[in-house]
Symmetry: C2
Subunit: 337 residues, 2 copies
Amino acid sequence: MNVTIKDVAKRANVAPSTVSRVIADSPRISKETKERVWKAMEELGYYPNAIARSLASKVTNTLGLIMPRSTEEAFSNPFFPEVMRGISVVAHREKYDLLLSTSGNKEEEKEAVIRMVKGKRVDGIILLSSRTTDELIPWLRDEKFPFVVIGKPLDARGVYWVDNDNIGASKLATNYLIKHGHREIAFISGSLEYVVSLDRLDGYKLALEENGLTFKRELVEQEEFSEDGGYRAMMKILERAKPTGVVVTDDVMAFGVIRAAIDKGFRVPEDISIVGFNNIPLSAFANPPLTTIDISTFELGIKSAELLIARLKQKEIESDHIIVPVKLIERKSCVSR
Amino acid sequence: MNVTIKDVAKRANVAPSTVSRVIADSPRISKETKERVWKAMEELGYYPNAIARSLASKVTNTLGLIMPRSTEEAFSNPFFPEVMRGISVVAHREKYDLLLSTSGNKEEEKEAVIRMVKGKRVDGIILLSSRTTDELIPWLRDEKFPFVVIGKPLDARGVYWVDNDNIGASKLATNYLIKHGHREIAFISGSLEYVVSLDRLDGYKLALEENGLTFKRELVEQEEFSEDGGYRAMMKILERAKPTGVVVTDDVMAFGVIRAAIDKGFRVPEDISIVGFNNIPLSAFANPPLTTIDISTFELGIKSAELLIARLKQKEIESDHIIVPVKLIERKSCVSR
DNA sequence: CACCTATATGAAACCGATTGCATCCGTATT
DNA sequence: AATACGGATGCAATCGGTTTCATATAGGTG
């Protein structure tokens, strides 16, 4: 079998508890004993069993990551890897590992969370995005389990979250088109099941209102978060209206929107201007290069991990949420009219 | 405290061992008892503690994922998320979770593996790419720990691996340029520390040889796997030679190569043709759209996870390695001469 | 009717750590 | 000299399961 704490104890002529204390570098153990134990560990090639340690101490040094939708789908939108990149930088710095749940749909997602929480496999959880109908958030809150949500939840009472100012960001995008002389501005978002979609719709409406433009239902469409989703949404809008500008809340969708516009015989940006969201790497290389709202995706990951870990370490936390700034990246997908 | 197996046992008037057997759905327990126990579990809201279970059974139902280089860097090349997408599909299907190590450099990477293996946190490991100097592979082999490598290792004895035929793929790319009349063909790869770079260099040499072209050292350059790396490599080559075609073993690097060519006053593809590798999503949208070797990244993930799990389940395995096919995607970054 | 054999369940050891409490010893205090 | 005290370490319970082996009961056999 493997080398255990008992073998080390025997070799160093001490009790297992002493070895345990040496591992934790407890000040209660004398320098000499520590050295004897270290030597024994070295000689035997001892390495602590993390599982046993977790069982006894109830700490795993692991963070759980819950992807929305299927894990497969999540990895195909560059937003998620980028968020994970941020999370992993902090996790590494703070010596945490990351446990990825692999789920296929909403039920399995719930199950994955239960597996992590009730199975005591993680110390805390990061939800990579929040739905309006999310049962997870109330459930985690009731369980009093530490978690952080990326994306402001509908009901934010007692939950820690990290997000952009989505209403503001959407106003920014819409105002940009308005300032460039557009008056018929369409708005395409992902499913209204996601809070982020709702907020951005609100921002769009506010911008119109503040500029004395009327909101027209036929200029608004929701679809799946994908290139095809964007394509379908734009097709539907073009069949019933004639926008000169479009705000699309996801760059991947925006590519579909451009494709639809071209298929319908419009030129981008000459006939239709487009503003996207997220500033994914592809956006700079698209044809035309996409004007988009950079939401600091990497930073969202960083901040969410920091917030969660601060909570786990019972550090003083200034606020239960963090707003990450956005900025507009001007490229070539918009023209003045 | 939490509900444990003992609470359930008490409530159902059985011994803890019986409850354990009910959880495992052992045929040794009578239908009636099972039902009584299930009811008790239901009523108490019992959920098994995965950590305790792992400790006793020595099974974690978790696969460890080891990224090369820093975790942060890995997430910024679309290759890795795509591989992970494949892995996560299989992991989910087979009911495994994924543990991500977060490391910053080679030493930490080794440490992360030790933490996983010696800490008994995972049942098996997938190495997302192999270095020539990799100490990990011999170490894991000596430990007799189940693992699979994406990318054929230099010394493949006793190692399970999944890869493309990199020599063939590189010949394919080089031959494509040769067939289009190119004779001065440059070759840019990532560090020769990676086996994949070596193999592709070999494929390039072979293609030259088979077509009676001479290999010229000044047409070959290695650099870091990044857009900047590609830029620097191409700059160095253009200062000493005049290629009409370039094989670049990574699309992200290829973007840098294009940028360098343009900065030096060349047009792509009119003056210099370029073939990339990986077919990342961006490639189709680049300017010009990139002709590239599609290496079925997703499939690499799928196969590696399947191979590992088959090994864990002691299934019959036909071969200790799997070759995933490649194909050339023709776009607009090459012209005939 | 004594003996054997399944079948169903329980008792207890074990997995490899952590931790509260007890103990031992040497030195300072009164 | 008796008491107190603090430092260093050990004992044993505990975390929440799994698994081996033993036992009890019922039914079958000669």
